[in-house]
Point group: C2
Chain length 387, copies 2
């Protein structure tokens, strides 16, 4: 029971010596592993694994639920939390994990779990069910967890794993942005940049299922037509390049597409001149919703749009919106689940990284996450799966 070794992680240290240590599952206990950080910094510097024992299902108390993580994504906001630069983050004060020698925070906000066992008072979940965290900052980069029933939201256990693991942030964000700012009707139009991002792809598909037309702006690239075909297959009404977006001349083509119908909503995750060009396509009284700034440039909007076209520019932050209104979070999850059931959402474009916690040392477990974080910089969204 005291065999858990919590390594003091040294950057660049060999993991060989750690390979000799075995984390194991004893009768009656489960060895859990969690990626934690004891202080803010770059993930490669501060991440470490904390291994600890948790009771077996039979030993769970009243409203406790024991879950095993099936998959968790590595989102940019997770990294920003570790760096200490994200406004909403868990305090580095987690002391409830057994065996901790210092306060830490557990990484990760999104993920899908399978219930292994429930305490006698639990009514909404049973073993075999899938669930997701009901709140933000849960700490999903871990193999197992025990929490009160209220910390989890049950979801069907027969939906694609990737959908389940990413529905709480990207898919929900796209749904909320399309429905909470403007009352779009069937046949209405919206425009977005970052059309090839995860949220952009979700927005294309959700809009299609709601009968809403989309114009998605993507960066020019060597195999542009391939991407256009891909997004069109997802349901994109039109896909345009950044160059077309900033061309005055091309504005006429867009007016032809919409047949004079005003574009009522713009979704911006890029900023800079891109959003200036995009907002010029918006009709009178339109809303521009900013949810990211990939260009690292500010949101740039022509003065005349504010004064003469009554543009309203707002921000979207799912963390804040669902904190303020937890019922909305449940509502949007259910809406997204409906879309998944209707096959309205294609498979998520991401890479699965299978990790077997029970076969890895703490250092190897940490390294697996670090590697996936590294891959996410160049190879798109990464998911860690535990089975």
């Amino acid at each position: 029971m005291n065999s858990i070794f919590v390594p003091t992680f040294k950057k660049g240290s060999s993991s060989l010596s750690f390979r000799l240590l075995h984390n194991f599952r004893t009768m009656g206990t489960i060895t859990a592993k969690a990626i934690v950080y004891p202080g803010y910094g770059e993930p490669e510097d501060v991440l470490e694994t904390h291994s600890y024992e948790i009771p077996s299902p039979e030993a769970l108390k009243n409203d406790e639920v024991l879950v095993k993580t099936l998959a968790c994504p590595l989102n940019p906001s997770d990294i920003n939390q570790i760096q200490g630069v994200y406004p909403s983050r868990p305090p580095i004060s987690q002391t409830s994990l057994p065996g901790l020698t210092k306060p830490v925070a557990v990484c990760g906000n999104e993920g899908v779990f399978r219930v292994l066992g429930t305490g006698p008072g639990v009514t909404s979940l049973k073993p075999g069910d899938w669930c997701i965290p009901s709140k933000v900052n849960y700490g999903t980069w871990r193999s197992h967890a025990i929490s009160a029933e209220a910390e989890f939201l049950r979801i069907p256990n027969d939906i694609p794993l990737k959908q389940a693991a990413t529905m709480a942030v990207n898919t929900s964000s796209a749904y909320l942005m399309l429905t909470q700012f403007e009352k779009l009707q069937k046949g209405d139009w919206f425009i977005q940049n970052g059309g090839n991002s995860q949220v952009g792809r979700c927005a294309i598909q959700i809009a299609k299922s709601l009968g809403i037309n989309s114009i998605s702006i993507v960066r020019d690239r060597p195999e542009l037509q391939k991407l256009i075909d891909e997004l069109t297959a997802l349901g994109a009404t039109h896909v345009i390049t950044e160059k077309q977006n900033t061309s005055k001349e091309f504005g006429k083509t867009i007016k032809g597409w919409t047949a004079g119908r005003p574009i009522k909503l713009g979704l911006n995750c890029v900023g800079g001149p891109n959003v200036a060009g995009m907002s010029r396509k918006l009709g009178k009284n339109a809303k521009l919703v900013t949810y990211g700034g990939m260009s690292m440039k500010p949101v740039m909007l022509p003065t005349s749009l504010f004064i003469f076209k009554n543009l309203t520019a707002v921000g979207f932050w799912i963390t804040e919106m669902t904190k303020k209104d937890p019922e909305l979070r449940e509502k949007v999850i259910n809406k997204v689940l409906e879309l998944i059931k209707e096959n309205a959402l294609a498979d998520i474009n991401c890479t699965l990284n299978k990790v077997e916690p029970e076969k890895l040392t703490d250092l190897e477990f940490t390294d697996a996450f670090k590697q996936a974080l590294c891959d996410s910089k160049s190879n798109g969204k990464q998911l860690i799966t535990f089975e």
Copy 2:
């Protein structure tokens, strides 16, 4: 009666020959002069004077009101209308003025008139009353006018002429922006750039009278302290420079001033990096209202303010707001009149250009306006007065 000569204006032509022509007032008629344009262009190219005869007060029909212009300001938006680049402008289709040989538009949106006479059905106005146009695009750059009673709004005839002539645009704009977007309470704070503009000066004074604190950003200049003293005398709580506005360090000073109270409202007439710096001073859930773009740069706002501080950026256009809600126009005029009566508004910072229409040829009349327009570029706001 046919003695009115409508000159075909040639740029640069000598006015000597026109000096020989006399516009005159005959028994029973008044000779009116109006600055008009038959097509869009630069004011120096397209402005001309149309002189015409209008009946004397005794000949007015039912709801007709005859007014004499006391003063009219030359606003930047007036120039933009003449250039054809302002979204709201009178159509060039004015054909009701007697003696016109082609359709024209009459310049000017703001001004104060004295009633010379009223038709038998008029109830809200009597000779000697002062009034202002009740709607936009009235065409105020003229010596006299006859219109239906509903075209005018009576105001007291014992207030300063400059206040009366400019209350409908600048003063009303400042009042509306301070009251229509955020419910500011006594002790609350707002921040604005263009603190030395007419609207900025009005906002400082109106805020003071409402018990609201102000931070006004002004451009650095040789005699900065003199300007700071001047604005402080108007009621400014604090005046800062553009450099201080964009300094991170100075943000702490401002936090000290507000004692942690969030700044709820920002008024922007500049754009560019100035508005980015200003908006960083705003608290959570604040509103940024754009009503001008003097830097000719777009409205630049950091992405994080939208996402993490829930900033809402909107535009203000008095034309549209009062078109949509004519009652609001009357309400704000009355509020501004109250402030004037309470001596809450200092004398307007502008130059009076006295013009005596009856002594000038058409060309001289036109030239007087052109000269004032020219002066307004370097010497601040210009008003034409007719007595």
